[in-house]
């Protein structure tokens, strides 16, 4: 617990520090449109990172999240545009597809005993293939220029007026809906992680799989549920992205696995399992966002930003290894 708190503190301070730095260093960083840009652009990544964090806590990894984001988005697009389902039904189907995709990852890991890296590398490709196969924009080319008009879906990509909600403390005119979705989702996952038997079992498994097995836990079901939840998280992000872009593209979410893993690891999810929580990955995602947006405003090229994302990931993993080694824990 103490370790979680201290690593959370580090990431929170780092995020605040970076925010302060770019507010001074980059013009236009500390402006309302830019902060909104940050919240819109990184809330969905934070949701994916929360799911990814759970998988890493259970000593796994999910490389397929980017494809799962696209899968959920495409299912939603098809359901609304081709089958003309209502928003709630369509969103349910999209989340179901993503959850099943995640559960399949879990089945591959648990029953075929594939390495999580290999299993999800395979589904990374396979799910992307499914996205192309079911793409309504390919099947009905006329749909590709049309926007999703369903009000519920549009609402997810919209904003919520908060003028005066916080008094004069935070003078924000509005906050993106996706940020609220993130907050609610994170609160539910945090509750599940810290206050339910499922969460306790997950942390036990992460800390010592043998101990979980010896305590008579159903570790197979546990792992499948964790991968399924990671898929659900990616699906939620996909649904939000459709709301924001009012369409789904086949390439949506490509490469997101890297940023999601980076956000989770920066957020203190130990690669040796069991440590970390929900807050960490969220701050990890926004920290990445602050750095990348800040650098863009300072005029750094896109290519350097990709190098930097990789470098940040390496630094975070290196730090994690260092802490684990020094702690001398199992």
């Amino acid at each position: 617990m103490r370790k979680t708190l201290s690593s959370n503190l580090v990431i929170v301070l780092l995020t605040i520090g970076m925010f302060a730095f770019f507010s001074i260093a980059a013009d236009r960083f500390f402006t309302f449109p830019n902060v909104e840009n940050l919240l819109v652009g990184y809330s969905f990544l934070a949701i994916v990172a929360v799911g990814q964090g759970l998988v890493i806590m259970a000593r796994g990894i999910d490389l397929s999240v980017g494809s799962t984001v696209a899968l959920a988005a495409m299912v939603l697009f098809d359901a609304v545009m081709i089958f003309e389902f209502g928003g709630p039904v369509a969103i349910f189907l999209a989340l179901l597809a993503a959850t099943l995709a995640g559960a399949l990852n879990g089945v591959l890991v648990v029953y075929l005993r594939l390495q999580p890296f290999v299993a999800t590398l395979a589904t990374l490709a396979a799910y992307r293939g499914v996205v192309f196969a079911i793409s309504g924009r390919q099947l009905y080319p006329e749909l590709s220029s049309q926007a999703v008009r369903d009000p519920v879906v549009r609402w997810l990509g919209d904003i919520i007026e908060v003028e005066g909600w916080f008094g004069d403390m935070i003078p924000l005119p509005w906050i993106p809906t996706s940020f609220f979705v993130l907050l609610i989702y994170a609160a539910i996952v945090a509750l599940a992680l810290w206050r339910t038997q499922w969460g306790m079992n997950l942390r036990t498994y992460g800390g010592n799989p043998e101990a979980a097995h010896l305590a008579g836990l159903n570790t197979k079901r546990l792992l499948i549920s964790v991968y399924a939840l990671c898929g659900f998280s990616a699906g939620l992000a996909g649904v939000i992205l459709v709301g924001r872009f009012t369409t789904a593209t086949e390439a949506l979410g490509a490469g997101m696995e890297l940023t999601a893993i980076a956000a989770a690891v920066i957020g203190g999810i130990g690669l040796s399992g069991g440590t970390g929580g929900v807050l960490g990955p969220i701050f990890g995602a926004f920290l990445l966002g602050i750095i990348l947006i800040g650098l863009t405003l300072m005029g750094t090229s896109q290519f350097y930003q990709q190098i930097l994302t990789g470098a940040i990931l390496i630094a975070a993993v290196g730090y994690d290894r260092l802490v684990t080694k020094r702690g001398g824990s199992v």
Binding site: R2, K3, R195, Q197, T204, G206, N208, L214, G216, V330
Partner: protein
């Protein structure tokens, strides 16, 4: 009435009879030693009792109720097992670990932290354990982790607790603490099965003993009515001798290695040590005296900050294991599974791994001499089963250790460092390891053994060095009285 009643249990794997049909009963408050060489059927019996193996015949009953449903069923039925390796989650608190798998629920089915901590504290209080429910398990010393495991068993109201080599990683004083805990369990009417290779401990803590050999129970009775020689006799079978100190050994020769003022910040300092040809020097002390860290510097795994290492009168710098090997230094590490063996490879591959250049002719490995060398090694070390193609991961602990030793015998190094060579190894295998060390010594090697087992140290050492808190505190002769040696080792820590 007996608390545990396992009647007619047996286990057959294919055609191999791992455990022959036998009865095993325990009374409440009894501490029973289960003794046997590796492969005698101990592990099989434990696994049947914990529910990990379903017996081929027979059944396990606790308080008259037959158990079923695998490990979970046996835990619920009142049998708990404390394994050699920790079965706690290091990232969780003590209280969270105590309730693994079944935490107390409060409103809305959520885990009630308050109740969890209160109940954990109550159990800790009744038991007088010095931990807090909020302590992180990773931060606790090993002995306290063992105590937490015992508490965990009690939390499930275990009536029978099996302990597999519970003292393997504990220091003398910690063993005492664990034994005190076991005495408390006795008073509470919990039956304990104490599985250990350390005779000394068995005679101190156990009431009764069951001795297994070749899958059969060969002796059962009161510990007070037998002695060490008899126990070892039953264990090894007719015609096998107990470990004895090798008779008048050859005189030590010229100095090979000399260490002056060696130090590594935070681990050890000012170590002076000399090793001579044909002698065995034992480095003993409490766990945490950083002996392992010291020998790692000699093998180039870690680097010292200060001091010099002189080999054959020339100062050397050892910065990698490769360099150490080329200087004729070999290390048999403490953690054989992690650091020493290629577990998924065969015995012959492991035995010859360090000596491959010897078998090269025109850049090609010569298979025939390799097979011959592997076979002679297996015979010399009495490795069971004597099959060079056997995968090392499937061998028992003692035999794995022999393979590791055999790997270096093949290269005939000048200096052999062994770190806790016989932890978790039975008497028979210990004998084989000791004689291999004598053989190396006879060939003129200088041997440095790190060992916490005082009996062992007295048996094999030509000189004993006691290390404490990163310093060499004292040198003693191997024929010093046992009690004095123990007192010096424990005293060296204060």
């Amino acid at each position: 009435m007996s608390v545990l009643n396992a009647s007619g249990i047996s286990k057959t794997f294919g055609t191999f009879e791992a455990l022959k049909s036998q009865d095993f009963t325990l009374e409440a408050g009894e501490v029973r030693a289960v003794i046997g060489s590796n492969g005698a059927g101990k592990t099989t019996m434990i696994k049947i009792l914990t529910g990990a193996h379903a017996p081929t015949t027979g059944q396990v009953m606790v308080d008259g109720t037959a158990l079923s449903g695998g490990p979970a069923g046996h835990i619920a039925g009142g049998i708990a097992c404390i394994y050699q390796h920790s079965s706690l989650a290091p990232n969780l608190s003590v209280a969270e670990n105590l309730f693994l798998g079944q935490h107390p629920r409060g409103r809305f089915g959520l885990i009630s932290r308050k109740e969890m901590i209160n109940r954990a504290q109550a159990l800790i209080n009744t038991h007088g354990t010095q931990v807090s429910p909020n302590d992180l398990v990773a931060d606790l010393p090993t002995v306290k982790q063992k105590e937490v495991e015992i508490l965990k068993a009690l939390m499930r109201s275990a009536k029978v607790i099996l302990m597999d080599e519970p003292t393997a990683w504990l220091s003398f004083r910690e063993v005492e603490r664990l034994h005190d805990t076991i005495r408390k369990l006795m008073a509470q009417g919990v039956a304990v099965v104490y599985i250990s290779h350390i005779m000394d401990e068995i005679f101190r803590i156990c009431d009764t003993a069951s001795i297994l050999r070749d899958g059969a129970l060969v002796w059962e009775g009161q510990v007070a009515e037998t002695d060490r020689a008899q126990v070892v006799g039953h264990m090894l079978g007719p015609g096998q001798a107990d470990t004895k100190r090798a008779a008048a050994t050859t005189k030590a020769g010229a100095e090979i290695l000399s260490i002056q003022g060696l130090g590594r910040k935070g681990y050890f300092e000012d170590i002076n040590l000399s090793l001579r040809k044909g002698e065995i020097v034992c480095l003993t002390g409490l766990i945490g005296s950083n002996r392992t860290e010291m020998v790692r510097c000699l093998f180039g795994t870690d680097r010292p900050d200060s001091g010099t290492i002189t080999l054959h009168g020339k100062e050397v710098r050892i910065s990698s294991p490769r360099e150490a090997m080329s200087l004729g230094i070999a290390l048999v590490p403490e953690d054989r599974r992690q650091e020493g063996l290629f577990l998924s490879h065969t015995m012959s591959e492991n035995l010859l791994a360090a000596a491959l250049p010897k078998f090269l002719q025109r850049h090609m490995l010569q298979r025939a001499p390799m097979a011959q060398a592997a076979n002679s090694n297996i015979a010399g070390l009495n490795i069971q089963p004597p099959d060079p193609e056997k995968v090392v991961g499937t061998l028992s602990g003692g035999n794995q250790q022999k393979v590791l030793l055999g790997k270096w015998l093949e290269t005939t190094p000048e200096i052999v460092i062994l770190d806790e060579p016989t932890v978790g190894v039975d008497v028979g295998a210990k004998n084989d390891i000791y004689s291999a060390m004598q053989e190396l010594k006879g060939k003129g090697a200088a041997i440095l053994v790190v060992s916490s087992d005082v009996e062992e140290v007295q048996l094999i050492a030509d000189r004993i060095l006691i290390m404490s808190k990163g310093k060499i505190a004292q040198e003693m002769a191997p024929d010093s009285p046992h009690e004095e040696l123990v007192a010096q080792i424990s005293g060296a820590a204060t």
